[in-house]
Symmetry: C2
Subunit: 232 residues, 2 copies
């Protein structure tokens, strides 16, 4: 349902074609939403049928013609109505974090490799979004205008940048954690091999399979510093 309002909101700012809207979803709006063209085009047709938007054909030179949509009064009312409605719960689908959650199943070196690769991905994304922000801030300064619209979209932009910044920071801290604790994988692997070689005394072996918390307490507390309330 929200895609509908994402498009409607977008058209409350500027007139745009389906293609334009997709670009906005990929750039600025990618902080909170994403969508495919094959979903946007049918949705635009539905919105037009419901008379929340209207279209006009614009002929272009050197480029294919395009259908430019604008919001109607009815559409504006519908948008305002939705804005006063409680939001749907946040839906996160973070496959990388899911993999991380289960990464004890692969060797420590592979874990480090994955974390470093992902860090690069986040870093690139942060650079992208920082460029968008600099451009925006410069344009506001140059034109010397400030509107509630600019204010609210800037707030969202800030959230987007922070999200990336802190994800990146987490990557760094987690790489450090795994580097300091990779002996855990070696210990567990050794215990597994021992377990195969002598299956008779498996109870004794299981107790040596894991390290004690005391061995990593300092590293662990440093990793969680600032998040845990100190108990007295």
């Amino acid at each position: 349902m929200s895609l509908r309002y994402g498009i409607l909101g977008m058209l409350s700012k500027w007139e745009a074609s389906g293609y334009d809207i997709k670009k906005e979803f990929d750039e600025y709006m990618s902080i909170f939403w994403h969508s495919h063209l094959s979903q946007i085009y049918p949705e635009l047709n539905k919105l037009e049928k419901d008379e929340l938007i209207s279209s006009k054909l614009v002929k272009q030179v050197g480029k294919p013609d395009k259908k430019v949509y604008s919001i109607t009064d009815k559409g504006r009312k519908e948008l305002m109505n939705w804005l006063l409605t409680p939001p749907e719960t946040l839906k996160m689908k973070d496959t990388f974090l899911m993999q991380t959650f289960f990464m004890d199943n692969i060797p420590a070196e592979e874990v480090l490799l994955k974390l470093r690769m992902y860090k690069k991905e986040r870093q690139q994304r942060l650079e992208q979004i920082k460029i968008i922000m600099q451009d925006r801030l410069n344009s506001i300064k140059e034109r010397n205008v400030m509107k509630s619209r600019i204010l609210m979209s800037s707030a969202v932009l800030k959230r987007g940048i922070e999200q990336e910044m802190y994800y990146l920071k987490w990557c760094d801290e987690t790489i450090e954690l795994v580097e300091k604790c990779k002996f855990l994988w070696a210990k567990e692997e050794a215990a597994r091999i021992e377990h195969i070689n002598s299956q008779s005394e498996n109870k004794e072996i299981q107790s040596t399979a894991s390290a004690t918390y005391t061995e990593v307490e300092e590293i662990f507390l440093k990793y969680f510093a600032g998040l845990v309330e100190e108990e007295k």
Copy 2:
């Protein structure tokens, strides 16, 4: 596709029923994923048909019987394979941020109301997740064990807490920003009314419709402090 591996990964840690898995998705795993029972049950059947997991019926007293699933060797191999695979791109669907992006369309007081309400929601979620973390950390300390499994799930937990903490901080800062800048809404509203009353000189009116950047520069720079690189 990832739900499949979420379940498989879950079963690489403990044996569980569909109902148990759902609880884990709602609690610990909610940091990176969510799923309904009506999606989990069919997926479990598929996984069993593919021989990645196996089930046994466990009779219970005072409770309905349950089907407890465990991962097979084939399943463990499939999981490891997936773990070495690049993750799908992060998919965020944040309806609240979407609304925020378009909130210039509703009065400033409504914006503040929405921000304050959402802040409470995030706050409650943070409290929940902090309790989960405290329980986890205490149990590790008590039992005095440390395994790579605990390490990796703790890393994910940290990310979850940070996410909530910084979202909450953003709510606070954005509430402050809107409070300081709510005169923008009043100004734009006044200009709109003037525009209706005298449609002849609309060009002149549009120039007074928005405030200048200079009027809010100090507030704006404070809001973005730490995110923007200073230009010399």
